[in-house]
């Protein structure tokens, strides 16, 4: 089992219990600034995240650097996804036809509740109370495990990091490495407390932890009658589904149980089998920093006598057609969930995934979550627009530009029903707009900071009243100059004029 990032170094033991499972996996917890403040105060978390993200960043850079046509591959990935989005309805129907022709059953789910009902119905018909799961963002998004639990069905996560998260009653904090916020001491404690068959003398050596999980899971793989997975890709022209993974647990789930249920967001399509060529190069290098992922499982419908004899594909909308209808935000659906944008994001690196209050954290979460929910959100502001995400995204999603678009939408939403903070911002922006739309007005406004010279000491201002305190809490403000540039230039022109007159 691969444990390269799921287990940061040992550190001070923290509490075993996680943040709990929220009612809405796309919107939970405190506001972003508040949640970020809490996360920033956690030194251990910052160290865990800093180490993990810098390791994976370096790995990615190395393996991307060795591909001579990387930029061409990105262009190809981007073009393919753009094509898929323009033809999504017909491609989905093509997929449905081909899956059905090969013995699979296709279900369409409008939202999370409908998808959960469909899966629960399939599981109930199999008269089982336990299913094994392959790591999947789509089922996290719809809260499938909780929905199944209500029906008396235990869904067992078989990805190591996802198992850790589940045992701790926690939420994932990274798309690829859901337990990135946990160090191995915490993981040992979680296993000892929550995994009945964990050896009592378990240490925090990664290999031992992996072996304990492996023994625990092996029993589940062999007994489960139903497996639930997500999909990395679905090929329209063949009806083939693809899952890529590192640990081999996915392969077990996809081959051992009698029945397989795959829940897939409708955007995961590629038109033809050949197109996988592009994505199977882009994805592993961008995500785990590997040239090739250890396990690539492809299956098409049902093959008699080999693997699951019953296959269900649940096509999930859950807000995606709304995103698709939006020209400015639509390319968020191009995402192949590689998580490269999380690993390079300076904000994510410091606050971690839980601060985003969504199963989709980081830069992609900041553009996808508010679009999927359609609710007012502070996530579009959780970025400095530094552009690091855009630079690494294997399908070239221009995340900074979409963030700006979404900010404009937030401003419109808050214009309709402003709270106090909204009103302050609106007034400030209005005033600034007035002052900055005319050279003469600006010239007068630019002199105003000069008044602050009265409170400057040694060239800086240490403390300002609110809202200036938001700045001076952690940085000084330099003493404003005696003379603005506008005034300096005007004086220079006058001087030049006088000189010329004198010469005449």
């Amino acid at each position: 089992m691969s444990t390269f990032l799921g287990m940061p170094d040992a550190g001070a033991p923290a509490t075993v219990s996680g943040v709990g499972r929220p009612d809405d996996p796309l919107h939970w917890g405190a506001t972003f600034p508040d949640a970020a403040r809490t996360a920033l105060a956690d030194e251990q978390l910052r160290r865990n995240l800093g180490n993990a993200t810098s390791t994976i960043r370096a790995k990615r850079a190395r393996v991307v650097g060795e591909v001579p046509d990387w930029e061409a591959l990105r262009d190809a990935g981007s073009a393919l996804k753009t094509d898929v989005m323009t033809r999504l309805p017909e491609l989905l129907e093509e997929l449905e036809r081909n899956v059905t022709a090969r013995g699979g059953v296709v279900h369409w789910a409008r939202d999370a509740a409908e998808a959960n009902r469909i899966v629960a119905g399939i599981v109930r018909a199999k008269e089982t109370d336990e299913v094994v799961k392959v790591k999947s963002m789509a089922t996290q998004e719809i809260g499938l495990n909780e929905a199944l639990a209500e029906e008396g069905v235990a869904a067992v996560e078989t990805d190591l990091a996802e198992l850790i998260v589940q045992l701790a009653d926690d939420m994932p904090s990274h798309i690829l490495v859901p337990a990135i916020h946990r160090n191995r001491t915490e993981i040992r404690d979680i296993f000892l407390e929550r995994m009945a068959d964990a050896p009592p003398d378990l240490t925090d050596v990664p290999r031992e932890l992996a072996m304990a999980a492996r023994a625990h899971l092996r029993r589940k793989f062999l007994s489960a009658k139903v497996a639930v997975s997500g999909a990395n890709f679905a090929v329209a022209d063949t009806g083939t589904l693809a899952v890529v993974e590192s640990e081999g647990n996915g392969r077990m789930c996809l081959t051992l149980p009698e029945t397989l249920v795959t829940v897939m967001g409708i955007e995961k399509l590629v038109p033809t089998f050949d197109d996988l060529e592009v994505f199977l190069q882009l994805l592993p290098r961008s995500s785990t920093g590997e040239r090739m992922n250890p396990y690539t499982s492809l299956w098409t419908g049902v093959t008699p006598g080999d693997g699951p004899q019953e296959f269900h594909l649940v096509l999930l909308d859950n807000g995606r057609t709304k995103v698709l209808a939006d020209e400015a935000g639509r390319s968020a659906l191009h995402c192949i969930r590689c998580s490269a944008c999380l690993n390079v994001c300076p904000v994510y690196e410091r606050v971690g995934g839980h601060a985003y209050g969504s199963v989709y954290p980081g830069p992609i979460g900041a553009i996808l979550t508010p679009q999927l929910t359609g609710e007012k959100s502070d996530l579009p502001y959780a970025s400095t627009l530094c552009g690091a995400c855009y630079q690494v995204c294997p399908v070239k999603i221009d995340i900074p530009s979409i963030l700006v678009e979404l900010r404009a939408r937030e401003v419109e939403l808050s214009g309709a029903a402003p709270d106090t903070a909204d009103r302050v911002w609106q007034a400030a922006m209005k005033a600034a707009s007035y002052a900055m739309a005319d050279g003469g007005r600006f010239r007068r406004a630019a002199r105003l900071p000069r008044a602050l010279r009265a409170i400057a000491r040694h060239g800086v201002i240490r403390r300002l009243p609110f809202p200036g305190s938001l700045w001076t809490r952690s940085r000084d403000l330099p003493e404003p100059p005696r003379q603005t540039f506008h005034d300096w230039w005007a004086a220079r022109e006058r001087r030049a004029g006088t000189r010329q007159e004198g010469e005449r």
């Binding site: 600034p33 630079q391 530009s401 050279g439 060239g459 809202p467 100059p481």
Partner: protein
């Protein structure tokens, strides 16, 4: 060349030493500098905070003020800021188009096509890397995010710095990491911004440099505001302030930061 200067609102009001240095530098290189007095701001702050409607009059003013460059009255517009250049190039047209101002949007594109960040102007348009500067100090360079990733200025600023006599350029650890400013991000997410700043300040201090330089006073204001709290004495200076320094007219780091200087 006749070059129009867009001073940027923040430098105009708070750091006039940078646009002043641009004027002196370009004149020293034999060019004529014009400062169109109608200018105020490029609109970046409004756009990046999502206030697109309030950005419209600001952007229109900028485009109107610099439209003569599109007619050839000036050869180029120079901006001593990577992020303002980025906004002019990548946002102004969009803002005007969304407001239904198609003709002005076209003018905005034409103006943007002749607008350059300082290091771009020097290296690409004027074809110089050695501007004849002298600056006998230990300097580290922070490549601001928008210069680096939005404009792609690459190593132009470093090439300019390496050509400065007696300047010792020391590399900055994790130079490409954002300093945490992000405009209104620094207020809306003040804690996260401060955490990023803390790391950047640490890396700057590790270099042992006397001067931190960049192509953008907004980022410099942020990092500088963190540096003065460490009592380290590292001085933030705009690239132009270093390039303008010569043996005949040396610029001394921190000599009142040029803040007291007044022309009459």
């Amino acid at each position: 060349m006749r070059i129009a200067l867009a001073a940027t609102c923040i430098a105009d009001a708070m750091f006039p030493q940078a646009p002043r240095a641009v004027v002196t530098l370009l004149e020293r290189l034999g060019h004529e500098v014009v400062f169109p007095p109608g200018q105020a701001c490029c609109g970046q702050m409004h756009v990046n905070t999502g206030y697109l409607a309030d950005a419209v009059p600001v952007v229109r003013n900028h485009v109107r003020t610099f439209a003569p460059v599109a007619d050839g009255e000036w050869d180029a517009v120079v901006v001593p800021s990577g992020s303002c250049t980025g906004s002019i190039r990548h946002q102004q047209r969009m803002v005007l188009e969304r407001a239904g101002l198609d003709a002005e949007a076209r003018t905005a594109s034409a103006v943007a096509g002749r607008t350059y960040e300082l290091s771009e102007l020097l290296v690409d348009v004027l074809g110089v890397t050695d501007v004849g500067a002298w600056f006998p100090h230990r300097v580290t360079y922070h490549p601001t995010c928008h210069s680096l990733r939005m404009l792609g200025v690459g190593d132009r600023p470093e090439r300019l710095l390496r050509a400065v006599d007696d300047l010792e350029l020391v590399p900055l650890e994790q130079a490409e990491g954002c300093c945490g400013f992000g405009g209104t991000f620094s207020l809306k997410n003040a804690d996260t911004s401060a955490a990023m700043l803390q790391d950047k300040v640490g890396h700057v201090l590790d270099t042992g440099a006397e001067v931190l330089t960049a192509g953008d006073w907004s980022c410099l204001m942020h990092i500088g505001g963190g540096l003065t709290r460490t009592a380290s004495g590292v001085r933030p200076m705009h690239l132009a302030e270093i390039l303008v320094s010569t043996r005949e007219a040396p610029v001394v780091p921190g000599a009142a930061d040029g803040r007291q200087e007044v022309a009459r």
